[in-house]
């Protein structure tokens, strides 16, 4: 593009546009004498150029009709626009306590809101149980497949690998005492009681809580939830309950899948590494571990399922109009769901310890 070159003191030529803004400014900027600027040789003038000519405050000569009109239009816009200068607020001594106070307030409000949501869902659940025909069976089956059946491969693989790792690490330690056979107890207790269901819940929280938030959140953004409400349909009943019930049904099953895969992986490793044959493994397993261990583990699953489903759905319903909030809520759903699952698992440990199971 040709450069805008001042031919005589203040005659501009060539294009005066956004692309040449800096060059033109350099030419006319320093010599702000108030002498007129001649633009009769300017080939192209756009709004950015007109703005620059106007902002120098010098009279402009040699403009044709179109250029005059453009400059007048830009000048009007600049005048009516007015400058809304944004100044950063200075920091004050009270800022930090105020921020802490606001964070606490938001946390309490959020907790109250979540409790309210739990109550609302429980009330709708009771209503649906009283009238079972209101339950959406198709949606329930769909979510059971999505969150349950489709998660089987990853959950089984995860369980298998945990079993392998436990057997391998346990063997290395127990061999020092010649107590290799107790690796069976180690694997069985840790997988059946804790790791199988906990890690399954974490995987499902990552897979399904995020999916629930994203699905419900994008429905919220497209006003589908509002459409349901005005049609007299209850979003809790239509969207939340099928997901909640589906997870409550499939999570214990997924937990059992992880348990079996873990025992299989642990048994395989014990056989390879320590020479404990499958029949030996089975005898030791049945002798030392009762069904209680497995029941303790699986009994936690429905509680985890409720946490994951409620967090995912609630975060989805909190999504606002913009894309940013969808992403923020989705990641928050996963973090909160995993965090709560671990906290509740710890509470369960204390509870079972006190109960003596």
């Amino acid at each position: 593009m040709a450069e805008a070159i001042p031919v005589s003191p203040l005659t501009l030529s060539g294009p005066v546009t956004l692309a040449t803004l800096d060059e033109v400014r350099q030419r006319i900027g320093p010599a702000a004498t108030g002498a007129p600027v001649d633009i009769s040789a300017v080939t192209r003038l756009d709004t950015a150029g007109a703005w620059l000519l106007g902002s120098t405050g010098r009279p402009v000569t040699g403009a044709d009709d179109a250029q005059l009109m453009l400059m007048r239009k830009v000048q009007d816009a600049v005048l009516s626009g007015g400058a809304v200068e944004q100044r950063a607020a200075p920091h004050r001594a009270g800022d930090i306590p105020a921020a802490v106070g606001m964070a606490v307030d938001r946390f309490l409000a959020g907790t109250a809101q979540s409790l309210g949501f739990v109550g609302l869902v429980m009330a709708r659940l009771a209503g649906t149980l009283a009238h079972p025909r209101r339950l959406r069976l198709t949606a329930l089956a769909h979510h059971m497949q999505e969150a349950g059946l489709n998660a089987v491969p990853i959950v089984a693989l995860m369980g298998f690998l945990i079993g392998v790792v436990l057997a391998f690490q346990g063997a290395a330690q127990l061999r020092q005492f010649g107590a290799e056979v107790f690796v069976v107890d180690l694997i069985a207790v840790s997988i059946l009681r804790e790791l199988g269901i906990l890690l399954t819940a974490i995987i499902v929280a990552g897979r399904s809580a995020s999916a629930f938030t994203a699905a419900i959140g994008s429905m919220k953004m497209r006003e589908e939830i509002d459409a349901m409400r005005v049609l007299g349909l209850d979003p809790i009943e239509l969207l939340v309950l099928p997901r909640l019930l589906a997870l409550v049904i499939v999570l214990p099953i997924l937990g059992l899948v992880a348990d079996l895969a873990g025992l299989f992986g642990g048994g395989l490793m014990a056989w390879i590494e320590l020479g404990i044959s499958p029949s030996q493994f089975r005898t030791q397993l049945l002798a030392s571990i009762g069904a209680t261990q497995a029941l303790v583990g699986v009994s936690k699953a429905p509680v985890f399922a409720v946490i994951i489903a409620l967090v995912g759905c609630q975060q989805g319903l909190q999504v606002k109009g913009d894309a940013e909030s969808l992403g923020m809520r989705t990641s928050r759903a996963v973090v909160i769901a995993i965090f709560l699952v671990i906290v509740v698992d710890a509470l369960f440990s204390v509870f079972f310890a006190l109960w003596g199971v």
Partner: protein
Amino acid sequence: MRSDTIIAIRGLTNRFGKTIVHENLSLDVLRGEVLGVVGASGSGKSVLLRSIVGLMTPSAGEITMLGTDVLRASATERAAASARTGVMFQDGALFSALTVRENIEAPMRERMAIDPETRRALADLRISLVGLPPEAGDLFPAALSGGMRKRAGLARALSLDPEILFLDEPTAGLDPISASDFDSLLNSLRAALGLTVFLVTHDLDTLQATCDRIAVLADRRVLVTGTLAQMRNVEDPWVHSYFHGPRAHAVLVKAGC
């Protein structure tokens, strides 16, 4: 091809599976004109617009815009041509994570080396040019009304001072007062900036108030082009009912055709 042709479309064909949207479509847009594109729903108006601006690759055909063969040019050449155009999408398509001012600054930030103060001043100028109040610059798109979103979308489309402006249904969903405000805004911007405008619309008032020429899309091609008055004499049944219906009648009587 005429010397003042700014966009030339030749033999354009667009196919989606078995559905043929355009077949051997040809159209010229002349420098400095406002071309209104009308057609029934599903006649491929938006597909045509998306093909020209490079959002989709047609199955066959040739599109020359600002002297660049947009379908065969290199990525750099295409980017250079598209920097000279502005597109306003139907609902503004503003970036929801950015404020209105940041939305308008975004093209300048990406395409031009301009210092932040100038960029900000130019963004404020655009905001004021499209008739938004100065405070609107600090708002996020979610806080804007439909009409304001459209204006903000127009301001972003004008960000790089384009030569060609593409508008997709700019007045759809606006109340009649805002719609006619938009028409006069478009007229004054076009007179001052010397824009060429490619306007997809259903709005007969907008056609009457702003367009120099009208192109009717039907039967997978451009059925006819001409002025509003010429459209009245076209024999095709769809064109006839479009420009002789009760709504058209009210507009055209007012315009004195």
